[in-house]
Symmetry: C2
Subunit: 186 residues, 2 copies
């Protein structure tokens, strides 16, 4: 199974304000920058409880009919109708094994805490970061502490007229030609 992160941050690296607000992101997500195409390539999502509770408060469930695995040791608030939500708990390696066994080929890992846990465990294959041209000073950081450096391979960067800058990186070796994730854009 492959895992990808696809996330927007302020230039100073925050994915949300401390209270979870995204008001510094462009309204409506800005011009199209690959989210639809990326989501079409995803079989399932893996998010943490905090992200789950944040998106539950959205007007619309953002993950459509994709299976969403929420990492939590506690019972979850009920999912909206039509949403496919399942609670899981365990270390990132166990989550990856479970999802692989369930036939998930490509998982979207989202949410600050969860992204950091998977990065620390060496279980993120692809990182797509879209930088919004603003400094917000504090908030929920995308990245956190690590036990050792993680070298990345830059695939490509593209820029948008609104000022968004999107970079795709790979982590680790590719696991064989049949299993490669294609670049997000060419």
């Amino acid at each position: 199974m492959k895992t990808s992160v696809f996330v927007g941050t302020s230039l100073d690296g925050f994915i949300a304000r401390k209270d979870g607000a995204f008001d510094f992101l462009p309204t409506g997500g800005g011009e199209p920058h690959g989210y639809e195409e990326f989501m079409a390539s995803v079989d399932a999502l893996v998010i943490g409880r905090m992200t789950y509770e944040t998106v539950l408060a959205f007007d619309e469930w953002p993950y459509g009919g994709k299976p969403v695995f929420v990492l939590s040791t506690r019972t979850l608030a009920p999912a909206p109708s039509g949403a496919l939500v399942e609670r899981l708990s365990g270390e990132p390696a166990e989550i990856v094994s479970t999802l692989s066994a369930r036939g998930v080929g490509h998982a979207y890992v989202d949410g600050g805490v969860t992204i950091q846990r998977f990065l620390r465990a060496g279980l993120i294959d692809r990182l797509v970061v879209t930088r919004v041209p603003v400094l917000i000073g504090e908030g929920i950081p995308l990245f956190g502490s690590l036990s050792k450096d993680i070298p990345l391979r830059h695939v490509a960067t593209r820029q948008f007229s609104s000022g968004l800058v999107q970079s795709e990186y790979r982590i680790g070796d590719e696991r064989g030609p049949g299993e490669e994730l294609p670049p997000l854009w060419r």
Copy 2:
């Protein structure tokens, strides 16, 4: 007077490790990415005492014959022969007034603490950030807390075969056509 920041960071936003080491940056600074051209446009540097002490330990004084203003309330260690070093202290606005009165048209503001102080004071005009494709987890951050959001204007981004990604941003309004800083590259 215009002020620019030109800095390399890890993808997670650190300009150096906690002990000041830059070992995660590419050897020799990586492929040419505009530093020489940028330095040629600079009349003087403004750095903090910590950066001064860091560069004093380098084999070679990195600022050539450019005037270097070191912000410190304490006496500085002696500068190497040939280096033009002067100590200043005061708020960023006072520093800008002093340097303007001394005929400095374009100052390079460097060092984590000093960059953050000038950003908070609204006294950085241009930000050129070169991202190195590595996560290091902790270190000296480029950005710090702010009293309010700082919107940026993205000028352009370029990518290099080693994986460096360089983005140029402007802050605030241009102060008139005669005073504009030209884009760093086209």
